[in-house]
Subunit: 328 residues, 2 copies
């Protein structure tokens, strides 16, 4: 039975994966009958005193060439060399699991095709909505639905800023500075506040929901930087809130995708999604509205989503051995 995995990129998410797999080892073994073993951690940095210091390697070839490694976790961030390592791992017959929305949005179609050719999986539950189960439910629980629309608050940074602007009636710049001070926004917040992050995520979710490739470059995207205190005040007076809504929907003219700030009233499920939380609303022709919410980012929540993919990929790698057990 193959249980060895390699974590490539030992930053926040990579360490989150390690934490989930070690802290919850007992629960995982009870539920699944086996538990992943971290054989390698790829990172160029030193991690003195880290409990997994002895697994650190700097050369991806070591992982690529080890036939015992069944699953590679790509939590490096950025496009390169994340894409190249993913493709090499897949071609080497290893499933790859990632939280890297940039790579999925840019190269997902190509990587899924390489995975299929190689008889392995390319899984990316953590790339959209952090810890919220959404990609697997779309693939499985909602597989008999004709999806009419999928929409969501897919970026916690902007939702935090919009929440604080309305709570304190402070301008955008001040709420952003606060988000940066709390670690919710990066020094260069462009990808979040201009909607680019949400744009990639809705392109990924829409591609899965509608079974067709959505190129994120074609998605009209507007961020939250132009929203003024006056706008917020006007919304509050009318019992509304600003939310950055990413949406993909079927229209008579085809699939329409957009990212833009929208005013939602109390009747919207997005109205009560505050702070850094994310939420996703799916409408299927039979099931109607299904709503998912949870933490869209963070070491442990994202690590949890990556870990669930690791278990699926390992179960797939060992499908002959564990077939009779039907676990995980």
């Amino acid at each position: 039975m193959k249980t060895q995995i390699a974590i490539c990129g030992y930053g926040t998410v990579g360490q989150g994966v390690r934490r989930v797999l070690t802290e919850n080892r007992k629960e995982i073994e009870e539920r699944c009958g086996f538990s992943p073993e971290i054989a390698y951690i790829l990172d160029l940095r030193d991690f003195r005193g880290d409990p997994f210091e002895d697994r650190l390697v700097r050369d991806f070839t070591e992982i690529e060439n080890d036939p015992d490694v069944a699953v590679v976790v790509e939590t490096m961030g950025g496009l390169h060399p994340a894409f190249e390592f993913t493709a090499r791992a897949l071609r080497a017959g290893k499933s790859v699991v990632t939280s890297n929305k940039a790579v999925v949005a840019e190269y997902g179609r190509e990587l899924l095709s390489i995975a299929e050719e190689s008889g392995v999986l390319y899984l990316f539950e953590a790339s959209c909505g952090g810890g919220i189960p959404i990609i697997r439910p779309l693939r499985t629980s909602l597989c008999t639905e004709r999806i009419d629309s999928i929409s969501g608050i897919l970026n916690g940074t902007t939702n935090y800023i919009l929440t604080r602007m309305a709570e304190e009636m402070v301008p955008y710049e001040q709420a952003l500075a606060e988000a940066q001070a709390k670690g919710y926004a990066e020094k260069d917040p462009t990808a979040d506040v201009e909607g680019y992050d949400a744009c990639r995520k809705i392109a990924i979710l829409g591609s899965i929901a509608f079974g067709t490739y959505i190129d994120y470059r074609t998605v009209p995207t507007e961020g939250i930087t132009k929203i003024t205190v006056e706008d917020i005040w006007d919304a509050v007076r009318k019992g509304e809130k600003y939310r950055l809504i990413a949406e993909a929907k079927q229209t008579p003219e085809g699939i329409s995708v957009s990212v833009a700030p929208r005013r939602v009233s109390e009747s919207s499920p997005f109205y009560s999604v505050n702070g850094v939380f994310n939420a996703i609303l799916v409408h299927g022709n039979m099931v109607g509205d299904v709503f998912f919410a949870g933490q869209g980012a963070g070491m442990d929540a994202t690590g949890s989503a990556v870990s669930s993919d690791v278990l699926e990929a390992l179960a797939y790698a060992n499908r002959n051995e564990i077939r009779s057990e039907k676990k995980c």
Copy 2:
């Protein structure tokens, strides 16, 4: 490749399954590479003019003895003969998929064990929360979590009554009569209003979340019949709402399970769940809060959940054939 299924019980849910599988046949084939074929419908009633009239049979033995039937859908309701037919189907090497919470709560452990011995699946996504994906996410997406608690609004009838009582300040009896007139409550509403329905559902969900058998008979259960207009008025004045909350949680003394009306404030995710909607909140030690909401009942929503299980069971039956495709 085996694609034949039998639907046992052609009432609301059974017809919903037929509707989902026929209406969305194209989408299912595109996503999964195959589509279920309804070979038999077991019911003692006549269905003149029904498009599947020619598949109607009255003798379960016909289904049991047909080796081409890979999956049996049990949507009969009630304990008997639903339990016996389920056990016979599993022993005959057919996976069984059900929406029947009574059978799952009473005989689930036994039937899961028979399924395991027979190398088939017993799936019951639709038994809790109707169309909301919750059992599969617990088994898969949250499989690396240590679940601390799972709680929910698991009964749409009582939620509708509580919603209407607060909206119109009418007494329980009047809101119940309205729910009955709209078809949301049965003539004998006992199972819903006394909490027995929610009790069975939380016993099922808790058993899966905590990996241990919870006997529904041991769950302290209180319904909504004693809530007065004065209670509701007092809650409204304090910005609160009554909701019938079913909960299973880890405590230092073990797993504590209960069903009771509770007052929730605006900060609770259950506050904005109105009418017949259901919602479930899971707290995991790593992922934090994850919230699911949707239609807890109804022909199409429940039919959708059953259908997703049918696809999983068929994929399992054909795992050798479809292994390389990784679909569904």
